[in-house]
Amino acid sequence: MKRLLFLLLIAVSFQLEANVSVYEFESIAQEKRFQQLVAILRCPTCQNQNLADSNSIVAEDLKQIVYEKIKAGESDEEILNFMKQRYGEFILYQPEVTPSNAMLWAGPFIFLMISLIGFFVWYFRNKGEVTND
């Protein structure tokens, strides 16, 4: 009985393994590029995951496309542009700085400057008044 259970478990584990897609590359460099690209591309369906971590249908399709394009000799830039054209800037985990989102990038620093200036103005004014007395 125990043996049967053991064999069953092994059979099940093979089945599970078979579900994970395996990508074969000609070189380690290609494989590294693949891993890097699927790490920086966001899954459009499950938006807090990258392609590497996602098993959603569209993520599997996009991974397969990245794989095929690497094998076909396309550059990283060409692959990222392909994705951006279809899914927009959102597909990149770290969006590029563009005029439309520049405020988001600069905003925190601008707020920090304003509050620092405000603080020092307030601080020195109060200090001056107290010591004058």
Binding site: P44, V58, D61, I65, R86, Y87, G88
Partner: protein, 203 residues
Amino acid sequence: MSDSSISKSELTPDVETRQVDEAQTSSPWKAIIVVLVFVGFLGFFIWALNNTSSELPSQLIDRPVPEFSVVDLIDQNTVHTPDLFKGKISLLNVWASWCAACYTEHPYWNDYAKKKDLQIVGLNYNDKKNKALYFLQTQGNPYEKILFDENGRLGVEFGVYGAPETFLIGPNGKVRYRHVGVVSPDVFVKKFEPLIAKIKQGF
């Protein structure tokens, strides 16, 4: 040590009375600004909390549909190209037999098809042929033509990231709108109809 503490305690009454004076003259404005900033932040947070929409904007808006050449789901001998959108307003509905929300949405399209207003084209996305055909058998077939996208590549060309999705395509073959999720009568009236009216007027 003791000197400074004495001088401080001597100072405090003066400072306090002056602060009270200031409070009476200038601080209504300060208070108003503080309250406004606070309300602004509060409003922003409430908006951000309720804004759970994860809908991505389509990259195809006001652009021609992507090039494709795809076989029909039902009639294997027919190959569809973007030409099928030329000269008429079309709705392109992305569906699949594995998509639970598509079962919810489907009755709407069955009803809509009876009106024979716009051409409804189906895009069967990442599906198995027999399952897709079974879906149509049991749920009804509102589509004039169905693009069979077995491996999801046509979906990627359209920027599809889930099903159901519905595209509104003008007679010039340009995409006007993309809705992600179930199309209900309410969604259709609010999102599609104003644009359809515009297209019919030639805009």
